[in-house]
């Protein structure tokens, strides 16, 4: 059923301070509203829990991409289109661009934001696996102050996260690396454009000679949250890519993930594809 308009409020605070003051005054009552590409879909379906929305779109404090020698810091409102047009992101964090390119079409990429993708907390979201393998950190702000948390520890369960009702995601930080890395990203869906992932896989590795010096793996749609796969990383770190290592990595990954059957795919397919993508990634390393 279509939502009844007069029941809803959408307010546009002038600056971040005003937004945080409103959240502090009535925590939990106001729902942040960024590009609206998730919220408006729920709205159209009459499935929004909240009645009061706090527009972030106009807040300059949540915009912009800043590059320092140590890190690239992205405002919460950074859109997929902005990710795609940034040269440092393209050269050093290419998986984020790959995720952006495969997220919806141009119109969705123009309005959809990274913080919206994170806070919508879908286990099938496409940018979180890329953020996880790049060791992203999030800055959370409230009227009480600001704190940085590792993104890896942010999602605590299905649609659960370490975000207090009076807090907003303000920025994301990606530490830069001077060592050469190999990057791999694959989204498996029903069709190439506009499809939600059955499985999404992101991997980054540093290879020296034959040896995987370090690596990070993260998958989407295979657990209640997007998942950094540390156990699988552990059996691969310091190893060379040999058939026995690949086989061990495949079994470890199959145990580490917990995919389910749903309307998009089956647990069995998801487990098989996850293992195949891992192998494809490992065999691609040079």
């Amino acid at each position: 059923m279509r939502a009844y308009l007069p029941a809803y409020e959408l307010k546009a605070p002038r600056d971040l301070g005003e937004a945080l003051a409103l959240l502090a005054r009535e925590p939990g009552l106001w729902k942040p509203f960024a590009g609206g590409t998730d919220l408006m879909v729920l709205f159209a379906a009459g499935k929004l829990e909240h009645k009061k929305f706090l527009s972030l779109w106009q807040l300059k404090e949540l915009k912009g991409i800043e590059v320092t020698p140590e890190a690239v810091t992205l405002g919460a409102l950074t859109t997929y289109t902005e990710v795609l047009s940034h040269p440092v992101l393209a050269s050093e964090f290419p998986l984020l661009g790959q995720a952006a390119r495969e997220t919806g079409g141009v119109a969705t990429q123009n309005r959809g934001t990274l913080a919206g993708n994170i806070a919508n907390a879908s286990p099938a979201a496409d940018s979180p696996p890329a953020l996880l393998v790049y060791d992203a950190e999030l800055e959370l702000v409230s009227a009480r102050g600001s704190r940085w948390v590792p993104y890896d520890a942010f999602h605590t369960g299905y649609k659960q996260m370490k975000l207090c009702p009076d807090e907003l995601i303000r920025r994301l930080r990606l530490p830069r690396s001077s060592r050469p890395r190999q990057h791999y990203y694959r989204k498996v869906g029903t069709r190439k454009a506009q499809a939600i992932s059955k499985v999404v896989f992101a991997g980054v590795a540093e290879v020296e000679g034959d040896t995987i010096r370090d690596l990070r793996l993260a998958l989407g749609s295979v657990a209640p949250t997007v998942l950094r796969c540390r156990k699988t990383e552990d059996v691969l770190r310091g190893k060379s890519v040999e058939p026995a290592t690949v086989a061990l990595a495949r079994t470890t990954l199959a145990e580490e993930i917990s995919p389910i059957d749903d309307f998009r795919s089956t647990a069995r397919y998801r487990r098989q594809i996850s293992q195949n993508l891992l192998e494809d990634f490992l065999l691609s390393l040079q």
Binding site: L5, Y8, L10
Partner: protein
């Protein structure tokens, strides 16, 4: 402001300035169709999937079914009516007619806006660029090939003119 009350927004649509009293969560799509009677913008899915409601907002392609009225405040909007009409068609519209890019026509305004937006960003696209730019616009009639032909034909024509 009373709870859930209307707010005043100012925006430009196809070059004309408007001040409107709207519910802040009303969809830009409804504002265009119902308040301004610009019915060239179509509703297909109402959930961001089909692109029938595409318009340009400050030069960027958006799905107007997902944009709340409040986010149109201060914006410069172009709908299909601002691209061209029966008295004067845009090169992309002409190409759709010549190459058979439109059948039932419900997807066409959105397709044309996505194509115009692409040609603004990239006047010389490859077929792959056209496919990517139109990936968010669904068509149930043409099978897409004639749509891609139309867009490529439009840029050849535009180039021939310049």
């Amino acid at each position: 402001m009373p709870e859930g009350g209307r707010v005043s927004i100012a925006c430009k649509v196809n070059g004309h300035a408007h001040t409107l009293e709207v519910h802040p969560m009303a969809r830009l799509l409804d504002l265009l169709r119902d308040e301004l009677h610009l019915t060239g913008t179509k509703e297909g899915c109402g959930e961001g999937e089909c692109g029938a409601c595409s318009v340009l907002l400050d030069g960027e392609l958006v799905n107007s079914c997902l944009v709340p009225a409040l986010h149109a405040d201060g914006a410069d909007i172009t709908t299909i009516e601002g691209i061209g009409g029966s008295s004067r068609l845009h090169a992309v519209q002409e190409a759709f007619i010549t190459a058979g890019g439109a059948q039932c026509g419900i997807c066409t305004p959105g397709m044309v806006l996505a194509a115009v937006n692409l040609l603004e960003r990239n006047p010389n696209p490859t077929e792959e660029d056209v496919r990517t730019a139109l990936a968010g616009n669904l068509c149930r009639c043409t099978g897409y090939v004639k749509i891609f032909d139309s867009v490529l034909r439009a840029c050849q024509r535009t180039q021939a003119q310049t």
